[in-house]
Subunit: 144 residues, 4 copies
Amino acid sequence: MSDPSSAGPTHRVRVRYCETDRMAVAHHGSYVAWFEEARTEWMRARGKTYRQMEDEGNLLQVVELVCRYHKPVDYDDVVAITVRPGEVSKVAVVLEYECRRERDGALCATGSTKLACVGRDGRLRRLPGEFAGAAGAVDRPAQA
Amino acid sequence: MSDPSSAGPTHRVRVRYCETDRMAVAHHGSYVAWFEEARTEWMRARGKTYRQMEDEGNLLQVVELVCRYHKPVDYDDVVAITVRPGEVSKVAVVLEYECRRERDGALCATGSTKLACVGRDGRLRRLPGEFAGAAGAVDRPAQA
Amino acid sequence: MSDPSSAGPTHRVRVRYCETDRMAVAHHGSYVAWFEEARTEWMRARGKTYRQMEDEGNLLQVVELVCRYHKPVDYDDVVAITVRPGEVSKVAVVLEYECRRERDGALCATGSTKLACVGRDGRLRRLPGEFAGAAGAVDRPAQA
Amino acid sequence: MSDPSSAGPTHRVRVRYCETDRMAVAHHGSYVAWFEEARTEWMRARGKTYRQMEDEGNLLQVVELVCRYHKPVDYDDVVAITVRPGEVSKVAVVLEYECRRERDGALCATGSTKLACVGRDGRLRRLPGEFAGAAGAVDRPAQA
């Protein structure tokens, strides 16, 4: 299990009208943007923004995305997203997400993204030190 | 001129990574979602949510959208959006938007949406009383 | 392995400008829309449109999404997407996707969506007969 | 009036599921992407792709967007979009769009985008020769 202390503050998003679809619930693709926004805030809370990291030439490319949908959320619902680091290697980190409907606490979706660190040339790079900290905070073995 | 007191509290959005494009700034289409989110909050601040209004059978259809782009905003920038009611008739209301880049106050975009009130059958309906209030708050003559 | 004959004609999408991001390639979330468009066309080629299926009260909810990213695609690139049915049970079907960059045939992304059939009440329903056909076309055992 | 010969071939888009919203029709923001896709094809038909133009350092920034909505379109509807050049100056061009629902020819939306030519430095530049051709094809006076 992850050390809860490595989770940043829960990030809240309110479902936009344009994020709903013909089924009158949030479209399954909307969670991709919410995961992304939540990890932006998770990184900010850890001390360096992703924008700064990217400006320094360290890009995080999404190499794998997984999302499982448990309960729908509707327009104007607030979704609370918790981010936790999973496996961390020298060049990649997995972040795990849990989305809850704020009005009743129901678990809506869980997922993960595997992010690889690359330079502007697209070649793999060692993750910056900030993520080494994330690695230390979890009790799963780091992998190559 | 609009009575400033009819403007709700300024709504802030932070530019999402997925809202940027190949020019490395926010895509011009992103403002459509921001205007929408800002008017959702403007309505909430006035006492009735748009979700409640729609659940009561009063739908606001966008019949006209205008946006003028003055300065770009980048990923992670905060955009402050002010909403003010413009012309109001029995069945339609114009909302006007002003977007400023929070870090320097620069005017990024201005725009408007004309919203017509329709029922689930798509036929025009009289705007609910909440908007009559908006009409009273502006000094432009109401139009049919 | 899937019976290749169960794959519909390859569906082509051209990367839209708004689908690119600050890294100057297609955003990873764009593939969600492309998978969706490709399965719409796969269903059309099999004889019944998803719109017709939904109008008949059989909704396909995405319960799991997986995407692995291998090579980036840029604005105006054509992406060729092949859809193949994977596991099929009485109430759910997995569709698998393979995306290739048309200009050089490079594998860009692979992924899958698990779709559960539900009624307007959100309760699980037996998949319509069209998918039983998909089940017959694959040699993996059906699962509950 | 525009010379019809300056309109490229009509561009068709099929409404994606993710482009619909809670009103069960295409979201008003979806037209922004369709206008963009239609002008990409209009430029391709005139002999130089926008991607090539951008690779040569000539960027077209949207400085104004207008859209008027006449009739809704639903998921899986085909929308036929015609593009025509409007006013052209040395540094900017207006493109006008007309969207029709293919199944019945109904006019769904009309709109325009004003595009200014800028370099990578964000400074205004003279439009490339391809657009001078567009200017010649219309009978409105060019403006500074």
